[in-house]
């Protein structure tokens, strides 16, 4: 049986399994789920924000002129690239380097 050393015990945990810190999942980086990463071509991006609204992980960040990808959380689903309306696309999916 593995002793749960580093995790808090019942005496110090808040009552009833309530999570008191909103958005604490930000501590859990899902970026390592990726097999492909989206790459934004800033020259082609028209800042339409469709990739931003369609991202399931809030991993597209709005900027002044164009969007950026937050690679800490991006799971590489590819929706942003698929929905990008510019021709040619401003976002392309590139294989993740090991």
């Amino acid at each position: 049986m593995k002793p749960e050393e580093k995790k808090p015990g019942w005496k110090s945990l808040p009552m009833g399994a309530a999570v008191l810190e909103p958005g604490s999942s930000l501590k859990y980086k899902t970026g390592d789920w990726r097999a492909f990463r989206p790459v934004v071509d800033k020259g082609k991006c028209v800042n339409c924000l469709l990739c931003w609204i369609y991202c399931p992980d809030s991993a597209i960040v709005r900027g002044e002129k164009c969007v950026e990808v937050n690679y800490d959380y991006c799971k590489g689903c590819g929706i942003c690239a698929a929905e990008c309306p510019t021709k040619p696309k401003a976002i392309t999916m590139v294989e993740e380097q090991k």
Partner: protein, 391 residues
């Protein structure tokens, strides 16, 4: 002193009214119906500020109560039998989410076969759910314990739901004179609820998270601790209530135990019958006594050990059957409590009253005689006796 004629159900409804409950979400089921009907009338006549939610099932009743309780509101519901069984998963959830809900249960037999009369099978089936369980003997106790239940449940060291159990029909529909407090006295005793955590938009929290094997155990241990705090908190609640009403409560009540050699231990209204018979037998010189538990969960192990110190035989009356178990639920708990003691009484179980089958003074006398015989011989003839069933 204000004596009002009330049934057990009415007494609970009146206590809830005085306790300034914010939400009542309940579904009708015999023999609890009078509780919800009486309360609906209070709402319709503007006598309470309570928001009454006429839910479409008992499961939804407790679900709505959990939601309401998490906002910090004071919450009450009531049910019986099948309704309690239907909300079974929610009982565990209410306790796990530490909601200090108070529930009145007019104990009634569980189907099948369907039966609307009183026995304890409904709440016995939920004894592991993490609810504090109190059993009352009459309408006065139903009134007094409902008010005290809110204070007990909402205490920072408890934060557990509490059920106040009254025998279906025998107590729920029994009319007696109940000595009630003034509204202000109840308000002073109870005060507003001070919740420990709520779903407040200004302080957003997440309630009901998924706890994987690395966390679940710790939260259950917290509930165990809370249960263990109950007797101590109950003591101070009882003391304060006693100072206002002159009525003293505790975890159990005894009669004749100062010199009893044989005794009956039971819950609820049967204790009244047992006491009457014991009084008659004691006048004949027989050394008998009665132990009546108010508190069933958490089980008052220490108090039962203390009460049975000089006993030679103890008949534990179960108004429910636990199929396949060595004893009924109450007797199993008593036997477990006593097993650590080198000197302990011979215990036997009497299963009675199922489906509202009446227990008469002559039946109780039979049990006392059996207990006395056991105390003399030191031998239990039959570990489980089914009293009142036709062979």
């Amino acid at each position: 002193m204000t004596i009002v004629g009330m049934t057990g159900d009415e007494a609970v409804a009146f206590a809830v009214k005085q306790s300034k409950v914010d939400i009542v979400a309940a579904y009708p089921i015999t023999p609890q119906t009078i509780m919800v009907e009486r309360f609906s009338k209070y709402v319709a006549d503007g006598e309470v500020q309570t928001e009454y939610v006429c839910v479409e099932s008992e499961h939804s009743a407790l679900s709505a109560c959990v939601g309401a309780s998490l906002t910090g509101a004071r919450v009450f519901t009531a049910t019986a039998s099948q309704g309690l069984a239907l909300m079974h998963e929610m009982l565990y959830i209410a306790s796990g989410l530490r909601c200090p809900i108070v529930m009145g249960v007019a104990n009634r037999a569980l189907s099948a076969p369907i039966n609307i009369h009183g026995d304890h099978s409904d709440m016995m089936g939920s004894r592991d759910s993490g609810w504090v369980q109190i059993y009352v003997e009459n309408a006065q106790e139903a009134y007094d314990w409902t008010i005290q239940a809110f204070k007990l449940a909402e205490d920072g060291e408890v934060q557990l739901p509490v059920s106040v159990n009254l025998d279906g029909f025998i107590l729920s529909h029994l009319l007696e004179g109940v000595d009630v407090l003034e509204d202000e006295a109840v308000s002073r005793f109870l005060q507003l609820r001070k919740p420990l955590f709520t779903i407040d938009p200004d302080k957003p929290i997440t309630v009901g998270a998924l706890c994987l094997p690395d966390y679940y155990f710790e939260f259950k241990r917290q509930q165990v601790e809370a249960m263990q705090n109950v007797p101590r908190v109950l003591g101070s609640v009882n003391k304060e209530y006693g100072s206002i009403t002159g009525r003293d409560y505790g975890v159990l009540e005894t009669f004749g135990m100062e010199d009893a050699e044989a005794a009956i231990l039971c819950l609820g209204s049967t204790a009244g019958t047992a006491r009457t018979v014991a009084r008659k037998l004691r006048e004949q010189g027989k050394k008998v006594g009665v132990i009546k538990l108010w508190l069933y969960r958490p089980f008052p192990t220490g108090d039962i050990i203390a009460a049975s110190k000089r006993l030679k035989a103890l008949a534990v009356l179960d108004k429910a059957v636990s199929f396949g178990a060595p004893y009924g639920a109450l007797c199993s708990d008593v036997v477990s409590a006593l097993h650590t003691q080198l000197e302990r009484p011979q215990v036997f179980n009497v299963v009675y009253g199922l489906g509202g089958r009446d227990i008469e003074p002559s039946d109780v006398e039979f049990v006392f005689e059996e207990a006395l015989r056991t105390s003399e011989t030191g031998v239990v003839k039959e570990p489980v006796v089914f009293l009142g069933v036709r062979e």
